[in-house]
Symmetry: C2
Subunit: 386 residues, 2 copies
């Protein structure tokens, strides 16, 4: 279908001195250099970006041309799909490549969030998650409903959620680009304290992903064009599914849209879930990682919660999940997250993930990027090109 032939990735974290344009230029320029191509070889550019209004840059695709003078007159557009904006940009690029219109695309996901009050960020994310008339006050409160529904069905799993936080922090410590490179203890994560207050029962601070600035970029080439690149990772299948916005119209114990996207991607790839070696899933909250791994069919419904505790989803476990640290610890600059997932699986599949490299055969990987509360979901399955 098409292949990732290069990538760029700024550190995720707080970048008060970097503009949106700086972040785009840093990640986009790095991706071109990593791919070893000239900007003039790029057929089109997509920017994945959630909330231009947040930062006052009304027209982020226009900033893309600042990456290189040779991008003048190359078409650039922005794709937005809430927290799956990066994946929406990848999807548009894949369509353009598959249509034969272009051979090579540059996709940059980017967001600046840390300059805003956290409450404002939470409100913006919340606005992408439910209808105003049924709104909780914050994005965490929406996900707390999912957690409570899960607990109602399967018992209080707060300790298991804490294990996920600990595991993802451990992974982030091995990722030089991650925002939170420090360990958290199970005791700290599972205890309500001044430093770890309850945000929306049962979700504590350590159950929530981060407010982050950052950008990630990938160069995508058609299968034909990719023959010229030595280091590539191939999209084996890809699926996008949207679902209703109102929470009242959906089942709180499952993300039906994401689940369908997973099924479609798996069928298209001709794979069973057991065939996959690593996955980056959308852990905007720890409970979301549990639901995602169950939706993925990695674990039966009601059994995903204990996998971090048992080490199954750890780097050296049978099903490594979020080796990058995930949104939880690597960071979640909204528009960048879907693209950064692609960068991580590229590294794992090419054996270049450094201290966090999964050992053994890593030839099939999956990314799972969700917007809102499952309102939009993009799933890609990747394979190492031999």
């Amino acid at each position: 279908m098409a292949q990732i032939v290069g990538w760029g990735h700024t550190p995720f974290g707080r970048h008060p001195d970097k503009s949106l344009e700086d972040l785009i230029r840093d990640a986009g320029g790095e991706a071109l250099r990593h791919a070893g191509i000239a900007a003039g070889d790029v057929g089109a550019v997509w920017i994945g970006h959630f909330n231009a209004g947040m930062v006052g840059d009304a027209f982020p695709s226009s900033l893309a041309l600042s990456i290189d003078d040779a991008l003048r007159f190359v078409p650039a557009a922005r794709a937005e799909n809430a927290c799956a904006s990066g994946s929406a940009a990848i999807y548009s690029a894949l369509d353009a490549i598959r249509s034969g219109r272009i051979d090579i695309a540059l996709v940059v996901g980017v967001e600046k969030m840390s300059h805003l009050p956290t409450a404002e960020v939470a409100e913006a994310l919340g606005g992408a998650s439910y209808q105003p008339e049924e709104a909780g006050v914050s994005f965490p409160q929406v996900f707390s409903q999912f957690a409570r529904a899960y607990f109602d069905a399967f018992g209080d799993k707060s300790r298991a959620l804490a294990e996920i936080a600990v595991k993802n922090h451990r992974n982030a410590m091995a990722n030089p680009l991650a925002q939170m490179q420090r360990p958290l203890t199970l005791e700290f994560c599972s205890t309500v304290s001044n430093k770890n207050p309850m945000i929306a029962d049962p979700l504590k601070v350590t159950d929530c992903s981060l407010v982050s600035d950052g950008a990630a970029a990938i160069v995508i080439a058609s299968d034909e064009a990719a023959k010229a690149f030595a280091r590539a990772v191939r999209f084996r299948s890809t699926a996008h599914v949207s679902d209703f916005l109102p929470m009242s119209r959906r089942d709180l114990t499952a993300f039906e849209g994401p689940r369908r996207a997973i099924s479609l991607a798996r069928e298209q790839a001709g794979l069973q879930n057991g065939d996959l070696h690593v996955a980056e899933v959308h852990d905007c909250f720890t409970i979301a990682e549990v639901i995602a791994t169950e939706d993925l069919g990695f674990f039966a419904p009601g059994t995903g919660f204990g996998m971090a505790e048992d080490g199954v989803t750890a780097r050296d476990g049978a099903k490594p999940i979020n080796t990058s640290g995930g949104l939880k610890s690597k960071g979640h600059p909204v528009g960048a997250s879907g693209v950064a997932q692609g960068v991580e699986v590229w590294k794992q599949l090419r054996g270049q993930a450094g201290a966090r490299q999964v050992s053994g055969d890593v030839s099939l990987a999956l990314t799972h990027n969700v917007g809102g509360t499952g309102n939009t979901a993009v799933v890609h399955i990747f394979e190492r090109r031999n």
Copy 2:
């Protein structure tokens, strides 16, 4: 390539009682009914929308599913490209159709602007038009620079600009969906007065497009799928070009990006400019219509200004421009404008433009949708399917 097989179009104007979701539902639902298809036949939905931040709806693509319950699980995404957001959405849909991923797309362009202070709208549009450090205070001031550069080269053409306003108001009076359905006299448009103050010399209020709410939608089918539809208009060619944001890096007397897009579309279509019968061009300001018609090759540089005065661009002239009334008089709900252009040429090509129908052979039409100050440009050439 692909064909427009149905459309919807809300009245443009002030709609304080309509939410963004209402407008999407109105136009999108009308387009499905006009095409005579069930929502379940739609393969994917794109929303063209500029400034979600303006209205507080952070995630407009999620609203698309409210058009019809059968859209549940259909992928929906938003495309943004400033004032060419509607065309960016069309472009994404065409890529997906040409790739074979889907057969039928629904594209809805939408914007709500009238609830905001005009100064705030102008600032948002300005932010999409230049780098902050070189900014004029407002969007009109940016275009006044283009007007002054034109006047410097070819003499003061204020009266010719007034003729364009008069012509486009005349067209809008024949368009029941237009925002400004009242005549303006040449005297009023060419005179600075309390009711027609100078906004940014030489541009007066009557030289500026409108602050509008509204939505437009089209159903696009692949050539193969379109065989089932009796009333279709075919995309003969399509081009998208982006250009640098900083004004300092561009020629003020020409929109080089849009000009390139026109050339690409024309070459791809195998047509001369003289072959085209009608065109909807991006007249965000009257001066922009002059430059567009010259860029289109309809008139030599420095000669486009007088064409409204001479009646050449009138409905019954040799080169009818903006028969809908254009952004100037039909209205400019930013994300909707590019899609609405497609609706207008569908009507002209199918002989269904009512009182404003251009007589004689109307078989080839062009749309020209520009974002910022020529930073992004999408040009489509359409032909009537026989």
